[in-house]
Amino acid sequence: MTKQSIMATIRQRLGVAGDDQTRQQTIDSRMALHAKNTRPAIGVLDGAARLDQFACSAKRKGASVTQVNDIAAATAVILATLPAGSRLCLTSAASATGIELPVELIEVWNPKTSLENSLSTCFCGVAETGSLVVRSDAGNSITQNFLADRHFVLLPELDILDSMESVWSRVREQGGMPRDLTLVSGPSSTGDIEMRMETGAHGPRELHILILGGYG
């Protein structure tokens, strides 16, 4: 009932009929075309410039960015960053990368108690804004990206896309939107007390991005 009355008001105010096929075709074709609007120059970069844009933009937001040649080198960076006595939770997708960590450092993920460190993979990166695209799927618990104090993310260099628009093309190629797809751009922060930025509001206080060169 309410829906009908809201729709009736909208149509009456716009002076249109609900069964106007031309209007329906207009919106259907717009939604099917996926036309791109203006993309800034920093959103259409390629090659080294794209990698550079990603790294600079992510670092500006307070993330650490390290380029490594292989998984073994990534492991070394993680081990050097983990504080002594601290343990790490891996998403199943992260475990599947073949990363080898000392078993005593591995913690089984539990959202209520796993508060320290988390290692996950991501869907892709976005160079324009230095963002990581994380998503919910069978191999990735989405909350593992948001709950730990320190978040490590593996990002193959070839998965760094130029802009959000390229993310959407990849999403459509791979079966459409997951339940949750989040662009993570730097560590969690808040400016709610006296307009001063503080990191670690609810999500990770530290974000470490490991770019795997020539991988993927």
Partner: protein, 476 residues
């Protein structure tokens, strides 16, 4: 929508005398407006993005019925449910019924202006649901029993000492016995307290910055990550949002992501931009089983095709507040509406009544900064003027003011009478007892209304017309 905008004049007087507030407003303008200027300067395409954004919204508004239908179909295809609410009462009742249908006791909420508009949290609390705001600013003002004073930074009116007092008072019972004033420590304490709330919640309520018709996706933008925990941890996620938030495609929403954070504080993007589509999928390790979207009208559909349709493009970025000399002098609470500043002065009379909020449109010098920074190019000064016209048409302004304006308009059309009066006033003022600095501080009778708040420069020569003729100017 409940407002106290009738009290705008006494509230502004109190605000101007509030030193704490004045300091906070100085910080606000220094950080947000300056941040925006720097952020916009970095992006040469910014003005083209604004044009794109305006055109997308205009296109959506012309086809709003069809896009809402398309959005709702996609949500339901993904296993979610769409609910329609024509007003605040209906929206609140739908949310309460949904909470009760899953026997919820505890609710977490991420920041949403629409839920402020419908006063949702006090309603749920009055029905026995513990409802916790999880955005830090919203959490602080919830503890203090206040309303937001800014649409992006709701606790901007408070100092860290005030936050410290509030946390000490409310967190002591949880075992936090030390009074802390360090900003980082205050943030860390709130993180600990709220983490427990996130993990225990039965229902998470969020708003939506955008709704994508193509995919049935809701988009949430935060820096804290609270929306992500609110929407991913509980078993039920309820979205409460306005019908005007629709954009057609993911490509279109990308344009808005590019301008939103930049307009608010100058950042290219917020820390978290989440695209949520339906409930948990088969195989997902986490996420809510139930996904509901409550679409609120509350007077929005009535704005279509009328004088205020442009206002439906608003994306609640706060740039107009951050650049408004009136907002920056009196803060948000003086407006007596959850929507303050220029956007609030246009929206509030529509959502409440013009009679209750008639002062707001008049509290503007129409300087135009709001329109100049608006990312969706809303002609805010023009819309404010339209409310002033309506106020006059409905005879809501004082009779003296209406007659005064009529007299002024008549004089403006009768040049000879106008000139004679100007010459007379000029002669009187020239002979007024001379003050040392050349200003008159106090005039009697009606003219005293002018000198009550400003000084009047004493004329040294004749009227403008007299000087113009003397200098050899011709009548044109």
């Amino acid at each position: 929508m409940d407002v106290t905008s009738q009290n705008f004049i006494p509230l502004t007087e109190a605000a101007l005398d509030d030193d704490n507030l004045q300091e906070a407003l100085k910080q606000l303008s220094g950080r947000l407006a300056a941040g925006r200027t720097a952020g916009v300067a970095e992006l040469p395409e910014f003005d083209q993005l604004r044009v794109d954004a305006r055109d997308i919204k205009n296109h959506v508004l012309q086809h709003l019925d069809l896009y809402l239908d398309a959005f709702a179909r996609q949500v339901e295809r993904q296993g979610g449910t769409v609910h329609w609410a024509s007003d605040e009462d209906e929206a609140r009742q739908i949310v309460l019924d949904l909470c009760q249908s899953v026997n919820a006791k505890r609710v977490t909420k991420s920041k949403s202006m629409v839920t402020e508009e419908i006063n949702l949290v006090p309603f749920l609390e009055s029905h026995g649901l513990e409802t916790v705001e999880t955005d830090l600013g919203e959490y602080i003002i919830q503890l203090r029993g206040e309303k937001p004073s800014h649409i992006v930074a709701p606790a901007v009116h408070l100092s860290k000492e005030q936050v410290s007092e509030t946390f000490f008072e409310h967190h002591r019972k949880l075992g936090y016995n030390e009074k802390i004033t360090d900003r980082g420590a205050l943030v860390a304490e709130a993180r600990q307290v709220l983490r427990a709330k996130f993990l225990a919640a039965d229902v998470g309520i969020s708003g939506a910055n955008f709704l994508v018709a193509e995919t049935g996706t809701i988009v949430l933008v935060t820096n804290e990550g609270n929306a992500e925990l609110t929407t991913a941890l509980p078993n039920t996620h309820i979205v409460v949002t306005g019908i005007e938030k629709i954009v057609p495609t993911l490509e279109d929403v990308s344009t808005f992501v590019r301008i939103l954070a930049r307009s608010a504080l100058g950042a290219d993007i917020s820390a978290y931009t989440s695209f949520i589509t339906g409930p948990k999928r088969a195989g997902d390790p986490d996420g809510p089983e139930n996904f509901h979207v409550v679409l609120l009208d509350n007077g929005r559909s009535e704005m279509l095709g009328g004088d205020f349709q442009d206002m439906l493009r608003c994306i609640r970025c706060s740039a107009c507040l951050n650049h408004c000399p009136v907002y920056l002098s009196v803060g948000g609470h003086a407006y007596g509406s959850v929507y303050p500043g220029p956007m609030g002065a246009v929206l509030t009379p529509q959502l409440a009544t013009l009679d209750a909020s008639k002062h707001l449109a008049n509290a503007s010098s129409l300087c135009g900064r709001c329109e100049a920074v608006c990312p969706v190019m809303i002609p805010l000064p023009q819309l404010l003027r339209q409310w002033r016209n309506k106020e006059s048409e409905q005879k809501l302004n004082p009779m003296g003011m209406r007659w005064g304006l009529k007299l002024w308009a008549w004089l403006g059309r009768h040049h000879t009478v106008y000139s004679l009066l100007a010459v007379a006033a000029n002669q009187v003022l020239k002979r007024w007892p001379r003050q040392a600095n050349g200003f008159i501080h106090k005039l009697p009778a009606l003219a005293g209304a002018w000198t009550q708040h400003r000084n009047l420069r004493q004329p040294e020569q004749g009227t403008f017309s007299q000087q113009y003729r003397k200098a050899g100017g011709r009548r044109v």
